[in-house]
Symmetry: C2
Subunit: 462 residues, 2 copies
């Protein structure tokens, strides 16, 4: 039994080789798609000055930030001056403020790095986890939203996802809904949070909670609206994971209903227009049939100012990723606003679903080497290392068994590691300039000229 002191810290994980290979596979696919969209990589430190992070994520967020003690003589004061980053968006806003003169007018960056949150650990919820972010800074155009949605969607498609849906909404539309329902402005935020639970607790559950929060009249208006949307959805008869032309008609119907309800509300009308544009522009992308206009989508983050986006699959409670527009965040660092919009895919959730659905390529769980070189006896160790050097220089992945154990034991080790070939240089082989190559999959062994050893392994591998 390993002692508790050898476990990783609570809510954190060690990744053994097979895990790392899965994670790297997903990261590389996502990177490759983001590069195809013209995004460039950015990396920021794990540690930020504490004032960079505090006050950006709301009160709940503040409490989840890991804080770092001052060093040296200040340590005993118990004060913290640094903290682990909570997401990749606030560091990005800081970077854009810091390097404004070096960055292009439209800064398109992706960033795939871990973040830390002192959340209560639960299934699929960790205290260290990776975010895969793409953001565009510098433009208010809805081209940005359409491109971000398409990029995130293409990344999922490249990973083999076929059945995800992309829900979109708009912060200003949410506020307009609240205003139209006569909700006090400072009650809108909690009301939105309640509305966001429609998926989890249903229209009835939301109605009950809303009454308590905002009064019966407002609750009834709001719920009336969402009931209408629900009937539209039901009438459309689209399965949760169905990709169909019907989606466009449903989106149009919901948009029409939004126009009526929001009317000429100052921010809301603009928000509805932006949603219409996003739907139109997305028609030409792979996101076309996946987009669902969803006026109940709120997402927690307080810094969103415009579009709100979330990607879901039917068999996962949370989302695979989410994002939106946050035109004011950079202003908190720079003193002047820079329009911004971004999307973040959650690496661990993607891996959870891909593992459950067995979506990883079989070749990923391969052996650590193409061939293992045995050690014949204490005197021939150099011979084995020399052969390893030759085979590696030809591009093979080569393991050398480190000890002059009995040959059978060495074979057994290679088999346990799923290494397909074993190479032996015994006395005979050495004198003849040959190598014995044993195919561990069928037990066949054959001598080849040493110069052809790499070739022999490569040919038999096919």
């Amino acid at each position: 039994m390993p002692s508790p002191k050898t476990q990783p810290a609570r809510g954190m994980r060690d990744f053994l080789p097979a895990d790392v290979r899965k994670r790297e596979y997903v990261i590389n696919v996502i990177k490759e798609v983001y590069e195809r969209y013209g995004f460039e990589p950015l990396e920021t430190p794990a540690v930020e000055n504490i004032e960079t992070l505090m006050g950006k994520y709301g009160e709940e967020g503040n409490q989840l930030i890991f804080k770092i003690l001052k060093r040296g003589e200040h340590e005993k004061t118990g004060e913290a001056d640094l903290a682990l980053r909570y997401d990749l968006t606030v560091p990005l806003a800081r970077v854009v403020a810091q390097y404004q003169n070096e960055l292009p007018k439209f800064f398109k960056r992706y960033q795939i790095q871990p973040v830390w949150r002192a959340d209560r650990p639960a299934r699929g919820r960790f205290r260290e986890f990776y975010q895969c972010d793409v953001d565009v800074l510098g433009s208010r155009s809805m081209v940005v939203e359409a491109e971000l949605i398409a990029a995130a969607g293409d990344a999922l498609i490249a990973l083999g996802f076929k059945d995800f849906t992309i829900r979109v909404n708009h912060r200003q539309v949410l506020i307009a809904l609240g205003d139209r329902a006569g909700i006090r402005r400072d009650h809108i935020e909690p009301a939105l949070t309640t509305i966001d639970k429609i998926d989890k607790i249903g229209v009835e559950g939301v109605e009950e909670e809303l009454r308590a929060r905002i009064g019966a009249a407002s609750a009834s208006t709001l719920i009336g609206f969402f009931r209408e949307l629900q009937s539209l959805s039901q009438a459309a008869e689209i399965a949760a994971d169905e990709l169909t032309d019907k989606a466009g008609a449903l989106n149009a119907a919901i948009l029409g209903r939004l126009v009526e309800f929001v009317g000429n509300h100052e921010g809301g009308a603009g928000g509805v227009d932006e949603l219409r544009t996003i739907l139109e522009l997305s028609e030409a992308t792979s996101a076309a049939r996946r987009i669902r206009l969803d006026p109940s989508l709120a997402r927690g983050l307080s810094y969103y100012t415009g579009s709100i986006i979330e990607i879901n699959v039917a068999d996962l409670a949370g989302s695979l990723g989410g994002g939106g527009r946050y035109d004011n965040l950079v202003g908190m660092f720079l003193g002047k606003d820079v329009p911004a919009c971004g999307f973040s895919l959650g690496l661990e959730r993607i891996i959870v679903v891909m593992t459950e659905r067995e979506m990883f390529p079989a070749a990923l769980v391969s052996s650590p080497a193409d061939v293992m070189i045995t050690i014949w006896n204490e005197e021939s160790v150099s011979e084995s290392i020399a052969l390893a050097n030759e085979l590696r220089s030809k591009g093979l992945r080569v393991d050398v068994y480190p000890e002059a154990d009995k040959l059978q034991k060495q074979f057994k080790y290679a088999a346990s590691r799923s290494i397909p070939f074993v190479a032996i240089v015994g006395e005979d082989e050495r004198l003849k300039g040959e190598v014995a190559i044993k195919d561990m999959r069928n037990g066949e062994q054959q001598n080849v000229a040493r110069a052809n050893a790499a070739n022999a392994v490569q040919i038999r591998s096919r």
Copy 2:
């Protein structure tokens, strides 16, 4: 002027796209070489339980550890229960203890991740930096040392380094030198630290410091020995960065002198034997002419028990990397010892030298996209996005200018970003099913059928 609050935390760095591309290039080359040696990837959390780290790096190390405040109600106690990892070796030892039943008998892992030290920041010294570690656990065989040295050397060669030397020594030999010179055991450690400064302050400087530390007699014996080695080296006439057959003869001479001086000292004689074996086994590898037996090499770390290794280039004060054998560290977690040996390349130092020497491939600092698609007018935005979608599906990296600015402004932007091609779909082009492709390098513009647009960009790129 950016305000101070937008800077990264002291001693930490933001990596803009061009920096990230350099870092990824180096990391990928190193990874590829380590994979060729049969090493597998491991990742551990940035954050460890504080007791995992404390007491493993000596008193000085303890003070450099970033400690994380307890959360919630415990925060005001000022207590720390977590800490940022200080290196990748102690987490590895913890992992080996934790997963002993899942890991192979010989665990060969590489790990390329950041570590954090609250060091005083200086040129090339940061508080967040990457280590590129390879370690082999489970064998006392010197095959391990030879393979690690060859792997680290091959990684540097693959990066384009030609002139590095690999210094090797042995902990037990160092202790034997101390014993033979009559130094009290508890004075050996500081004496070794002084000897390690030979490169920096010369034999005379070391002699002076040694006298003060261990008395005139011991200092004189020790210095006498190192003077002899110095004459041997001078007689060999090998330039600092010369790769020559003369190195083998010099190593043999130093080995002979070590045998005499160490004699039948219990640990020391075994250490000398192991050094001889390492030299012999390395003959068959690319490290052959680079290895220098250096009995003055000590390296700070207290957990080394056997071989000590360091790689240097002439134009860098510190080392490019170092390592050694630490047979007792896993035992601190597991209760029973597991033999272990490892080597760590320093990413930032490698990048410093490669940048100064201009060793990065020119293609690395390329443009963020193969082609940028302009927006003809507000009505044709969908058209541009559709074209982007087509070109991306053919593997091109495509940027879309997000706004319907004047075409000249869009061209100017593409030029400023070094994007080689710009695609335009104006009224004419749309009606004819064509795309205008402008080569930004010579200003030539040509219309092609839309279906051939990707091809046209690819062909002209060559």
